[in-house]
């Protein structure tokens, strides 16, 4: 058995926190690889379930001025490794929507190279974990192009003994003058046995940039609970509604109705028409 290091944090930190990388033995795993040059505006939807190969690697080069919307749903109970590398040319735009539903051991790396001037990436991620689910995400937005922009928005709902690590890095390379990057994570924890690790990194070697990140982690705001209880909503229903609202940021961006219906079913939300 040879374990390889995956999801390596671009700048390592205190070793004892265990967030610098994950080790997985993927040798011999069947891998699905695809590389595409995106030359015209399009939407691509990808649904990984238990019939998918255990390792998926996708490399995309988005051409000048092209807009790509990529929807990835990870609804797989078995271990899974996903690698997504996207390079954006001048004024290219990526709208990335990712939804993680369960998963016994999912490792996902997303590297976006904002190579061209005025290239943009908007990433919306939703994570619904329960039981013994385990998820490790390593997202890197590397700004090389002038006036490039990145927005990262992650919402999670954790139950049971699930464990999630989100590492999000905004990297302003020298020369990315005028670039802007922002990152926000919102994690709703619904059980005392969950574990949520957040590592929002900003690396900066360019003066003329604006970077920010924020995170809110924990339980529901007691004022919200009080308000809704006073309106006759049960506590169970409140948690269900709030969980749903967190995940809707990502789910609501799925344009394909068939995929959306599948997601609703996987999340136990019934039909999309409901």
């Amino acid at each position: 058995m040879t374990a390889s290091k995956l999801n390596i944090l671009p700048v390592p930190t205190f070793s004892r926190l265990g967030v610098n990388y994950v080790s997985r033995d993927t040798e011999g795993f069947e891998t699905s690889r695809s590389t595409s040059d995106i030359t015209e505006d399009r939407t691509v939807t990808f649904y990984a379930d238990d019939s998918s190969l255990p390792v998926g690697e996708v490399t995309l080069n988005v051409g000048k001025g092209v807009k790509l919307k990529l929807v990835q749903v990870f609804d797989r109970s078995a271990p899974y490794v996903s690698k997504l590398n996207v390079t954006l040319d001048e004024s290219a735009e990526l709208e990335l929507v990712q939804l993680y539903i369960g998963g016994s051991d999912t490792v996902s790396e997303i590297v976006t190279e904002l190579a061209g001037a005025r290239s943009k990436v908007s990433t919306v991620i939703g994570c619904a974990l329960d039981g013994d689910n385990k998820l490790d995400i390593n997202l890197i937005a590397r700004h090389r192009g002038r006036k490039s922009e990145s927005v990262i928005d992650v919402s999670s709902v954790l139950k049971g003994q699930s464990v999630k690590t989100f590492k999000g890095t905004i990297d302003f390379i020298n020369g990315s003058s005028g670039a802007k990057g922002s990152e926000h994570e919102d994690a709703l924890l619904l059980d005392n046995r969950v574990r949520n690790r957040t590592v929002p990194v900003i690396l900066c070697e360019e003066e003329n940039v604006e970077g920010s990140h924020g995170a809110t982690i924990g339980r529901l705001d007691e004022r919200h609970i009080f308000y809704l209880r006073s309106r006759g909503t049960s506590e169970e229903k409140i948690y269900e509604l709030m969980s749903r609202s967190k995940l809707m940021k990502a789910v609501g961006r799925i344009g394909d109705e068939a995929v959306k219906a599948r997601v609703y079913k996987a999340l136990g939300w019934g039909d999309t028409d409901e």
Partner: protein, 469 residues
């Protein structure tokens, strides 16, 4: 054409004076069992301490270097002199301190500060304390403020030292903690009895004068129930071309309902590697406040850690880091919430210029025992040019649902709009930039006693003049 105003580096010339030392006072460089035994003999260590030092050396020898953080490739510990014999014994009267050492501390303003605003002072020169004194009325209240070695040899405190020394920061914590355990020398011991509140601060000042040497002082502070203290630590060294090493250790025990403020203004010269470890454990309803200004050293690793171990304990960390030319300052804080209803607040500022690199690194850990806990982290970084670097690497690790954790960070430069606004109100661009940068550092300076805030402003020395491309 848009012009930029240059922000000057910190002017360290004030601290950059030195005196020759006698070569025969220097131990051999390097860290060997013989050197450790020599230090132990020189200090007349009790048996347990000699064994502790040798055990620490073993740990040091087998422990790998850290694999993260600023590069310490330029540091060769085999070239560092771990111990320098003192020219005199410790004194409680400045007149008994050798002239050149006394002059050093006078130039640093320590005796004057003692007269005007401190309850007690400790002054360390190279490896040993040369002066330690505490006001009579403070001593009468039961407060103990002395050097650690005297306390270790005093039967009233020997047991306390043995029970607490390197229990919070064990030698196995990291390589430089192990090194500290082997070669530590000097430092202060403070004991504040139950219900005693010191209204005036105590201060220890550490001066490393010798070339190619290390300073390894150990500070141990114990606050009993419902007591309070403000402790101030200052440090500096003149500049040499050879690397110097500071691997001190601070252990703070904050009892139930007690409150400790620990302020540090660090201005090591740019040949220094500052690999310091500071840690506090806080019991029920206790409070630790760290105020930290990091301005000097070539490389720093400094992350004061607060372990909130009792219900309702709280921690606050306020810090500023200024990284100029040739500096790689890796600073931040660690907080462990390990009991219910604990709270923490971290507020830091970093400034990078002239090729300097600042890294804010933090860890907030909320254990499953910490239901009802709250934490807020806020860090801001300011880039003053295009050849510097500023990184922010926070980690938040939460293991309970019943908590509220918030984090915010920003990085950027001085905005053109702010400059435009201030210049439209009649300020020159230079003054406008100076005002903005001073305002940026204000969160730390306002937490310091006035005279130290002035020192910090001197340290920042943000002189604004000229213009570059």
């Amino acid at each position: 054409m848009k012009q930029k105003t240059q922000v000057e580096d910190i002017d360290r010339s004030f601290y950059d004076f030195r005196y020759d030392e006698d070569a025969q006072d220097f131990f051999d460089s390097g860290i060997t069992p013989d050197i450790i035994r020599g230090i132990s003999e020189e200090k007349n260590d009790p048996d347990w301490m000699r064994e502790f030092r040798l055990r620490s050396l073993e740990i040091y020898s087998r422990m790998p270097m850290v694999k993260w953080g600023a590069s310490i490739e330029g540091l060769d510990v085999d070239n560092i002199v771990a111990y320098i014999r003192p020219k005199s014994r410790m004194n409680t009267d400045w007149d008994s301190v050798p002239d050149n050492i006394k002059e050093t501390f006078e130039r640093l303003g320590i005796p004057q500060a003692e007269r005007e605003s401190l309850a007690g002072v400790g002054a360390q020169y190279d490896s040993e304390l040369v002066y330690h004194n505490v006001r009579k009325e403070v001593a009468q209240s039961g407060v103990v403020y002395t050097d650690l070695e005297s306390a270790m040899h005093d039967e009233r405190y020997a047991g306390i030292i043995k029970d607490h020394f390197m229990k919070l920061v064990p030698p196995s914590d990291h390589k430089f903690a192990a090194l500290h355990g082997a070669v530590w020398s000097g430092g202060s011991f403070v004991y504040v009895p139950k219900n005693v509140h010191l209204e005036v601060p105590l201060q220890s000042y550490f001066r490393l004068n010798a070339k190619g040497a290390g300073q390894f002082e150990h500070t141990l502070i114990i606050l009993e129930e419902n007591s309070s203290l403000h402790f101030i630590e200052g440090c500096s060294a003149p500049k040499y071309y050879e690397a110097g090493l500071h691997a001190g250790c601070v252990e703070l025990y904050v009892g139930e309902g007690a409150s400790l403020r620990y302020s540090t203004i660090e201005n090591w010269s740019k040949n220094m590697y500052n690999l310091n470890t500071k840690r506090a454990i806080v019991q029920k309803n206790g409070r630790i406040e760290w105020v930290s200004g990091s301005f000097g050293s070539h490389v720093s690793y400094l992350y004061p850690m607060s372990i909130l171990n009792g219900e309702g304990a709280s921690a606050e960390f306020t810090g500023i880091t200024f990284a100029g030319e040739g500096q790689d300052l890796d600073t931040g804080a660690k907080i462990v919430h390990n009991a219910p209803n604990t709270s923490s607040y971290m507020n830091t500022k970093s400034i990078s210029k002239s090729g300097g690199k600042s890294t804010f690194r933090s860890a907030v850990t909320v254990s499953e025992k910490a239901a009802g806990s709250k934490s807020s982290v806020n860090c801001e970084s300011l880039m003053l040019d295009n050849i510097s670097r500023s990184d922010t690497v926070p980690v938040i690790d939460v293991r309970t649902d019943k908590c509220d954790i918030g984090h915010e960070a920003k990085i950027g430069r001085i905005s053109d709009e702010a400059i435009f606004y201030l210049t439209s109100r009649g300020l020159s661009e230079e003054d406008a930039r100076a005002m903005i940068v001073r305002g940026f550092a204000d969160n730390v300076s306002k937490e310091l006693p006035l005279e130290y805030a002035v020192e910090m402003n001197n340290l920042i020395g943000l002189e604004m003049h000229g213009s570059v491309g």
